[in-house]
């Protein structure tokens, strides 16, 4: 327990390539954020405050994912500077939106936007876990406030937060939503970790799996159901939104490259 005498744990929040939406979600915690600030010291947070202390820290939250060598080095440095490293949002935890684009299409767009002379520096976006050990992943695009609060509460209580063991379907049923799969619409809810409150489906959108794959997700079984009313390219599109950098995606959709007509 944190008593008045002990120094408060030091929290720092950093971001790499992303839209900063998850930090906005943090800001929009409002009173909860103030409560949190009463128990920890936010010593570095570019988006919200001037104070920018150097490490070491107790907890570092990282939003976004590195796409240049300098950012990777910074990430590795931060890992050394903190006891607990937490990925904040799907860009950090899954490579998220920056992870959709791969080298070939990036080359094409570089040329088109910046012209022939541009020297590309970017590399493929990967989740933070590709570079460093991460203690916990708060998934979501953007993160769900309740989950952020849960993780911070558990960390402050000295617990190791655990991923949700249930699927999005739990919260989707509680929300009283008609099942998309039964309506023959693609949905990744059954294989996706819960905790999001099924917000997308409640709002009429499909689940693209931004909360990451649930433990022992029955992906092959879901494909079996999806292929009854859709085809592989369409399903792949859904998987490529957030899960493109997962080993499961590679197993399911990465075909060997075709060279000179031969595989």
């Amino acid at each position: 327990m944190v008593s008045g005498v002990e120094p408060k744990p030091k929290l720092a929040i950093f971001d790499f390539t992303d839209c900063e939406g998850c930090e906005v979600a943090l800001v929009s915690l409002r009173e909860k954020l103030l409560d949190l600030a009463g128990e920890i010291e936010i010593v570095n947070w570019r988006l919200a405050q001037r104070r920018a202390d150097e490490g070491p820290y107790d907890v570092v939250l990282i939003e976004g994912t590195p796409i240049t060598q300098e950012e990777i080095d910074t990430l590795k440095f931060l890992r050394e500077q903190t006891k607990i490293l937490v990925g904040l949002g799907s860009c950090a935890t899954l490579a998220g939106i920056p992870g959709i684009i791969d080298k070939e299409s990036r080359g094409f767009w570089y040329k088109k936007i910046y012209g022939e002379k541009y020297k590309p520096r970017g590399i493929d976006a990967l989740p933070l876990t590709a570079y460093v050990k991460v203690n916990y992943l708060i998934h979501g695009c953007p993160v769900e406030k309740k989950e952020v609060v849960r993780v911070m509460e558990e960390l402050l209580a000295g617990k190791a937060p655990k991923p949700r063991g249930y699927s999005v379907c739990f919260e989707c049923k509680l929300a009283g939503n008609p099942c998309r799969l039964l309506a023959k619409k693609i949905c990744l809810g059954p294989i996706t970790q819960g905790g999001c409150g099924a917000i997308c489906i409640s709002g009429g959108s499909p689940c693209y799996g931004c909360f990451g794959l649930r433990d022992s997700a029955q992906i092959d079984n879901l494909l079996h159901t999806l292929y009854k009313f859709s085809d592989s390219p369409e399903v792949e599109q859904y998987f490529s939104m957030f899960l493109k950098k997962t080993p499961e995606y590679a197993r399911l959709f990465k075909r060997p490259r075709v060279k000179n007509g031969k595989t």
Binding site: A157, G158, K159, A160, K162
Partner: protein
């Protein structure tokens, strides 16, 4: 107790655990749900003498969030406890018989409490053996009690990986059959512990001629509610929390999950 197992003594403040008419506050083999507010609960077999009304001891192996939180506690910190739950070993069946207790590693707590019971009622039992194996001497728990136990029962210890100063047996528990002299038709056996114990059974108890129905195994599952509702601890058609945790060996064998 060892690198990752700690012994906790839970003492109520201002009251004592209630005892039944035999003076027991729980039956050896019964378990408690122990935890911390804000962290959660986990099941632990009572390990202390069941006659001790002032406190209950449990052995806690650091495995999850609850056990990790318990490991961080200091003397005097508060814990939550509810129970006792489950059936425990059938003490009346054990009376008047030779008793063989077989266990390994951290499966010892319910056996330890059974030993305390037997010692307190020593005249009611025949020859009594404890066969206890672990990976290293450090993994043998309740070391401080062995001297006391050895005065009353035969304690046979074995490890897989001995240290240079180790004087006991080396190898599997199952190789200790030679040490045991019992009357197989008048013997009761208590076991606790997972998989490897089944092998011990095949190799020790069967050769000794002990029938499956005389072998009582304490099962480990994810007991959560303790009252036969939540379904986490089911095995076949049984609830470990209310039908068990102690089962006949043939019951355990017929359970596939």
């Amino acid at each position: 107790m060892s690198a990752n197992v700690k012994l906790f003594s839970l003492a109520p403040v201002g009251w004592k655990f209630p005892a039944d008419r035999d003076g027991l506050i729980f039956t050896p083999g019964q378990f408690f749900l122990v935890g911390r507010w804000g962290v959660g609960e986990a099941p632990f077999g009572g390990a202390s003498s069941p006659f001790e009304k002032g406190s209950i001891e449990i052995g806690v192996r650091k495995a999850g969030n609850v056990t990790a939180a318990l490991h961080q506690l200091a003397r005097g910190d508060e814990m939550t406890i509810r129970g006792p739950y489950g059936n425990g070993y059938p003490l009346d069946f054990f009376k008047g018989k030779d008793v063989v207790m077989v266990t390994g590693g951290c499966g010892i707590p319910p056996i330890a409490t059974l030993i305390e019971y037997i010692i307190a009622r020593r005249e009611l039992f025949g020859r009594v053996y404890l066969l206890y194996g672990a990976l290293t001497p450090d993994d043998l728990l309740f070391e401080e009690r062995y001297k006391h136990w050895e005065k009353h029962i035969k304690v046979i210890l074995t490890v897989d990986k001995p240290t240079p100063d180790w004087k006991g047996h080396i190898g599997l528990v199952s190789e200790l059959t030679r040490e045991i002299k019992i009357d197989p038709v008048n013997t009761a056996t208590a076991m606790c512990g997972p998989g490897p114990m089944a092998a011990a059974l095949e190799n020790i108890l069967r050769p000794l001629g002990i029938a499956d129905r005389r072998i009582f195994v304490s099962e480990e599952r994810k007991m959560s509610c303790g009252i036969g509702k939540c379904q986490h601890c089911t095995t076949g058609d049984k609830y470990v929390c209310t039908d068990g945790p102690v089962f006949y060996y043939d019951q355990v064998q017929s359970n596939w999950d």
